[in-house]
């Protein structure tokens, strides 16, 4: 057995999963090779030492807490309601807030609600927004907390897509579906507080 084979079969040896002949071949090599012997000793001693970290108890409260958080998150991710904005920090009552509000209100009035939309148009609009490099840059690089599509309002090829990541970042995007391009967008940081 060569060193690379020894390294390959190390785990199986430690776990006792090697055949008798392979085990004998492994041991023969290890007795002749200090490098592989060191690796084997390190694996055995680490396994033994870390073995004492395996114990942890189940917590009933943990599951309840998670399910409560999930229910709360479901409320937050439902379509935006006016009262949700009233709890934000006063510093957000600036021109950006007003501009976004105006865009959303104008879109809602122009399009009429509920909009009579084809599902594939909504999906296309959302994809155009999600794939736009500027929008991706606005959300930053983060894989654990995905960007979600909160709402898509559209009519006659024009769409307003509302994207968000958790409770911290929301981006409102105007999309021209026919042209497949983002026409305008704006960021709302920490759109919801105290919820």
């Amino acid at each position: 057995m060569k060193c690379y084979e020894c390294a390959k079969y190390l785990q199986q040896y430690v776990d006792g999963d090697l055949s008798t002949s392979a085990r004998a071949s492994f041991e023969t090599h290890v007795h002749q090779c200090t490098v592989c012997l060191t690796r084997l000793e390190a694996s055995l001693s680490t396994r033994e030492a870390l073995g004492c970290l395996k114990g942890i108890q189940q917590e009933t409260e943990f599951t309840e807490s998670v399910m409560t958080k999930i229910k709360d998150a479901q409320l937050v991710s439902s379509p935006i309601k006016e009262h949700q904005y009233t709890q934000r920090s006063p510093k957000w009552f600036n021109w950006r807030f007003l501009a976004i509000g105006a865009v959303a209100a104008a879109a809602a009035l122009a399009l009429g609600l509920p909009s009579m939309l084809k599902p594939n148009e909504r999906t296309l609009a959302a994809n155009i927004a999600l794939e736009n490099p500027a929008i991706q840059a606005a959300f930053g690089v983060e894989t654990s907390n995905p960007v979600t599509i909160q709402n898509v309002i559209m009519n006659d090829g024009q769409a307003v897509v509302i994207l968000r990541r958790g409770d911290t970042t929301m981006v409102v995007v105007g999309v021209d579906v026919a042209a497949k391009e983002v026409t305008q967008w704006a960021i709302v940081d920490h759109p919801i507080s105290g919820t």
């Binding site: 004492c52 942890i56 943990f62 998150a73």
Partner: protein
């Protein structure tokens, strides 16, 4: 859920996708101890691990309805947990964090089974002194019992790379652990 003991992960996910969101609680029950333990060992902070574990399950719930992953739910959970822990460690620059004595005292004693484990604190401290990429791998392998191929899938690396990290991490751990024990004597 009636008879949910017979349901495997895929059955529960199918239930969730059909609108039974409460069935996710069975998933949390099934994996919470493992994920909490893993995050505790990666971060070295019991209470932080509790928060990150909750975040992990909430992320999993949100993602499970929208994405189809090629790996098992268990591996996917570990992937989310690892990303959450890495994100925290990056932001807080706690990669070489070693818990202080008062931190250990804050840890609930009944949360960890310390039987036959006189060196537990020394092991925990040694673990936190090795790079997080290697620490993660030896925890996933030696504590969580995952195979190299599963570790590779969780971390987005090859099976061979996972094996090398476990080997390297084991060597580093042994060195740090022995040095620490030598200093105590």
């Amino acid at each position: 859920l009636k008879g949910d003991a017979l349901l495997d992960d895929r059955d529960i996910i199918a239930l969730m996708r059909s609108g039974n969101s409460d069935s996710f609680s069975e998933m949390v029950e099934r994996y919470q101890a493992q994920i909490r333990r893993y995050l505790f060992r990666v971060t070295g902070d019991y209470f932080l691990a509790q928060d990150l574990a909750q975040e992990t399950f909430v992320n999993a719930y949100q993602g499970i309805l929208k994405t189809k992953t090629e790996i098992s739910f268990k591996s996917w959970l570990y992937r989310i947990a690892t990303n959450n822990a890495y994100q925290y460690l990056r932001h807080k620059k706690l990669v070489t964090f070693v818990p202080q004595d008062d931190t250990k005292e804050q840890q609930p004693q009944d949360s960890v089974d310390s039987s036959n484990c006189e060196d537990r604190i020394a092991v925990e401290e040694a673990l936190l002194k090795i790079p997080k990429e290697h620490r993660t791998c030896i925890l996933l392998h030696w504590v969580e019992g995952l195979k190299y191929v599963e570790i590779g899938a969780i971390l987005g690396i090859t099976e061979e790379a996972a094996r090398k990290r476990v080997t390297r991490g084991s060597e580093e751990f042994k060195k740090v652990f022995i040095e620490a024990e030598g200093l105590e004597r």
